[in-house]
Every structure is written in C-alpha cells, then in structure tokens.
C-alpha cells in the first residue's frame, strides 16, 4: 500500500504544472456554457428562437427553460463529450511517458509496474470526476443566474444519479484507450482510436443497436437518444461495457509488464 501511495503521489506531482489539465477543463466547460445559452434561447422565445440541430433536439425532447431540462442537458453533454474528453485525458496520461521519453525511467524500479499503472488509472479517474464536478458546479451556477424554474431535490438527485453513473460508465470505457497509448507508444494512436470510437458510437447508436456497443451506452444512458432508447438498455448492455473496461485494464497491465520495451 505504501508503494501504491507513493506512486499516486508521484503521478500527482508529474501533473502539477500540466497545461493540458486546464485545456481539458476549458474544453469540457463548453458543455454547461452552451447548455446555458440553450436555456436562454428557449427562455426568451421557446423553441422558435432555435434553429438547426438545436431546434430539432429541443422539439424532440420537449425542452423547456427549467432545471429538469438543464440538468438533463448536462448529463447528455457528459454522455457524448465525456467519451472525447475522458479519452483525451487517458491518451495524455498514459501516452505522455512515451511522448516525453520518460517511460524507460519507470520500468526498472523497486516499485512494480502494475502499481505505476494503477496510480495512473487512479489519477485518470480523479481527473475525470474533477471535470464533471466542475461542470456540475458551473451548471448550477448558470442555472441560478438564469433563475430557472422547477427546482426540486427529487429532480436534482434523479439527474445527479444519471450524471455520475454516465461518468462512471465512460471512465470504465477508457481502459482500452490506456492500452492503445502504451501499445502505440504515445498519445496519437489512442487519440485516433477515441475519434473512431466516437464516430462509431454515433453511427451504431443511430442504427438502433447502440445498446450493445459499449461506447454508445453512456450516451444512451444519459438520455441523449431519448427515453425510448434509454429503455432499450439492459443488463447485457452494461455487462458488455464492464467487460470492455476490465479487458482494457488487464491488457494495459499485461502489455506494460510483459512486452519488450524497445
């Protein structure tokens, strides 16, 4: 345990001055900002004030300028944007050691390679939750400033549950991204993989079979495809996602432990 804590502490120190961290927060914060703009537009003129994809979405989900709609938008932003941003975070955290040439310094130490990777996974989880908590706080602030109607603890807790479960699902899904960062020896390969997965999640989701494609599941769960699609999720949907996460984690550990580090 002492070794694990030391590895975690080293990981926090490594990222102390990372500018990428702030870039990720800024990028992710676009979600509540656009959510708030969305609310302002609806508030002023209903869905008539919207156009394009915004309008069709607002009409489809009967969006109104209230807390229920706004908190829903925040969850959906995590469900879609989280795949990209969390994937970006995982790519960076796991790929940087190769891109910065420091991987070889981590391979012959009195601390095991597994513990070093576990520290990275822990830091990654911490980073992702920090992102969603920051967005939630920002969303609550915007909601208060906009004086949205319809606040209730029940609604808030209901959305909070969806919000954090969506987050957890995406966090689990990025273990294969960590593997591709080690396999590709840098962050470009996993970023490419994230982009492909994001596109596939949209296509497969639109085909109506997204409930069996792990990268579509968080988006569907967050409600971005509507309540009907959400109801299609079943135990198998979540089981496949969890298996993907576990396989990704094990592949990352085994690759780092047993492959040749040229």
């Amino acid at each position: 345990m002492k070794h694990q804590l030391r590895a975690i502490s080293a990981e926090f120190l490594k990222n102390r001055h990372s500018t990428i961290k702030w870039v990720s927060f800024a990028a992710f914060a676009l979600a509540p900002v656009f959510g708030a703009v969305f609310m302002i537009l609806i508030k002023d003129g209903g869905t008539k004030g919207l156009s394009g994809a915004f309008k069709s979405k607002a009409v489809m989900f009967s969006f109104e300028a209230n807390w229920n709609s706004f908190l829903g938008v925040l969850s959906q932003a995590v469900g879609i944007g989280g795949i990209l941003i969390f994937g970006f975070v995982a790519s960076w955290l796991f790929g940087r050691e190769y891109s910065e040439g420091t991987a070889k310094d981590l391979l012959a130490l009195p601390i095991s390679r597994t513990k070093i990777l576990n520290a990275k996974f822990i830091y990654y989880t911490f980073w992702c939750f920090a992102l969603v908590i920051s967005n939630l706080l920002l969303g609550l602030l915007f909601g208060l400033l906009l004086q949205l109607d319809g606040w209730s603890h029940q609604i808030f807790l209901h959305h909070l549950e969806i919000y954090f479960i969506t987050t957890l699902l995406i966090v689990l899904l990025n273990t294969p991204v960590a593997f591709f960062a080690l396999w590709g020896k840098g962050y470009l390969t996993p970023l490419g993989i994230v982009a492909v997965l994001l596109v596939l999640a949209q296509i497969i989701g639109a085909m109506g079979i997204g409930n069996y494609f792990p990268w579509s599941v968080p988006g569907i769960y967050s409600g971005s495809g509507g309540e009907d699609l959400r109801m299609q999720l079943n135990n198998m949907s979540f089981l496949l996602l969890i298996i993907t996460g576990i396989v990704g984690y094990l592949a990352t550990i085994f690759w780092w432990k047993y492959s040749d580090q040229k």
Binding site: R6, S9, A10, D105, P110, I111, I116, K262
Partner: protein, 299 residues
C-alpha cells in the same frame, strides 16, 4: 563477486540479431566500458540487463539474481539510457522529487546532495524544458545517482556535455568506483573517452562481443611503427637489414615495427646518414584509439 553476469545471451528483432550469444561479466567496483558503433547492440544489451527487454535465449543476472521490477534490489541499480528525458513542465527539483517518491527516498536529505554533486543547484527551480543539453544530461545522471546505487548502468553518459562537464563526470564516476566500490557499466562509441576511466573494455559489433581487453593492456595492442622515407628506399631497406632491422616498404615508405627501432629512431637515422641514404622523412606512427577500434571491428 560478479555484479553483472550474462551467459550466451541472444536477442533478435525480426531478421536482426541484436545480441548474439554474449557471455560476459563485470566484477564489483569495476568500471566496464562497452564499446560499439551506433546500432552495434549496446542499448539492446543495456535494456536486457535492466529487464526492459527479454532475451530470446541465455541468462542475464545482476547481483547473481534475476528479479523483475518491483523488487527492492532495483534500488541498488541506477541507470541512464540513451538521451536523458525528464518531465518538461517540472523543475529540476520536482523531477528529482518524482524519482524520490518512486524509489522511496527521503527527499530532504538526498536532493540537495545530488544537486550539489552534479552542479545543478543554480538550476534547481528551472523547468526541464528550459535547460541546456548539458544540464539535461546532468539531470539524467542525477536521477541515476540519487539513490547511491551499487551498480550504475550508463548509456552514452557524456553525450551533450561540454569538455568541462566531461571531465567532471569522468572524475565523479572514478570517485564512485574507487571510494564507494560502485560497479559501473558504461557504453559509448568513443574509445578514447572510455579508455580514460574504464578498467576493462568490451567491444561489441553486430551484436557479438568480439573482444575484451583490460584498459592497461590497450597500449600494447595499438600499432606503432617507425616510418621513414629516403631517396632510395630499397637500398635503405638492405642497409637496415644488414644492421639487423627488418623493414618493409608500403606506400613508398619504409616501415619498421621492432621495439628497438621505434624506441631509438635516432640510431636508425644515424645508420642511414652514414650510408649516404639520409632520411627525407622520419616519424613514429602511433595508431590512435579510434583507428584501433575500427581495425578490431573490421578484423
């Protein structure tokens, strides 16, 4: 006691035999120089020693053990492989703190000491990305030395250092071996540098260890000859032969390789002058270490 021991070690990458049946040992307190051209297999050998790469066949042991990462005995090993990299956004001190955490060292006691030793004190708060190449190399060495390892494995440790830095590192390594009995395995492609500090040299070429030699014996292995040019080399050759000095003619020059001739060129000159074939040129040729190295790998 053998600190490094390899037995019939081989490693292949596709069609390339990177390490070819290498058996070698390095004893405690020894500075072993591992010499080879770029691509000869030096870095692969170091990666095998550190367990970063697994051998296809053969055995590789440090401290007469073969243990994977995570074992405390890795705190007896310090290493620097190829270009030293560090976290660019962290300062020198913070980079050392990361290593301290991973090695379980008490930062307050070891960091000031190593900063002082590697003359990095003025740069302790400077970010790695803003360091000069030489100071990056010093930081790499600081990371390898911070835990006072019993074995140091260094791949091209003087790369990027200025002449003063090279002398400092050389003195530091000598001190570690002499005063602290640290075993040092050092790779380089510059024989003249390696010869100044190592006690033994292994030459690797195309993955195979083709020669091992004590540094003290190096001088005797180097070609020395007395080269003479006269207006009539053939007559001069006969005269010298009559006086007991065997000479051969190469590229219109007489070459004598006997110790007597090399050590007393003035006697040879006197003989030739007395026989009316005075030398127009006379000099002792001594093969430099780089030529010696190239000759060995071509043989």
């Amino acid at each position: 006691m053998n600190i490094i021991q390899t037995t019939n070690l081989s490693k292949r990458y596709g069609d390339i035999l990177a390490i070819d049946n290498v058996s070698m040992n390095v004893k405690q307190g020894e500075i072993y120089g591992f010499l080879g051209l770029n691509g000869a297999g030096k870095t692969t050998m170091i990666r095998l020693l550190l367990g970063l790469t697994k051998p296809d066949s053969g055995l590789c042991e440090l401290f007469q053990n073969h243990k994977g990462p995570g074992n405390t005995y890795w705190n007896d090993v310090g290493y620097l492989i190829e270009t030293p990299y560090a976290y660019p956004n962290l300062s020198v001190r913070e980079n050392l703190q990361v290593i301290c955490k991973l090695r379980g060292l008490v930062e307050k006691s070891v960091i000031p000491e190593i900063l002082e030793r590697l003359k990095l004190q003025p740069y302790k708060n400077r970010k790695e990305k803003n360091l000069s190449l030489g100071n990056k190399q010093r930081l790499g060495l600081a990371k390898a030395l911070i835990h006072k390892p019993k074995l140091l494995i260094l791949d091209e440790p003087i790369n990027g250092l200025d002449p003063a830095g090279i002398v400092e590192v050389r003195e530091l390594l000598k001190e570690l071996a002499e005063k602290h009995n640290t075993t040092i395995f050092l790779s380089s492609h510059i024989l003249s540098e390696i010869a100044k500090i190592t006690s033994r040299i292994g030459i690797i070429h195309n993955g195979a260890l083709i020669k091992e030699i004590k540094s003290s014996e190096l001088d005797s292995q180097i070609i020395k000859k007395l080269c003479i040019s006269t207006h009539d080399n053939e007559t001069a050759q006969k005269i010298l032969l009559e006086k007991g000095f065997e000479a051969s003619i190469h590229h219109e020059m007489l070459e004598l390789i006997s110790h007597d001739a090399i050590n007393k060129p003035e006697e040879i000159a006197t003989i030739l002058v007395q026989h009316q074939t005075p030398p127009t040129q006379l000099f002792v040729f001594k093969e430099d270490l780089e030529h010696y190295f190239l000759r060995i790998i071509r043989e």
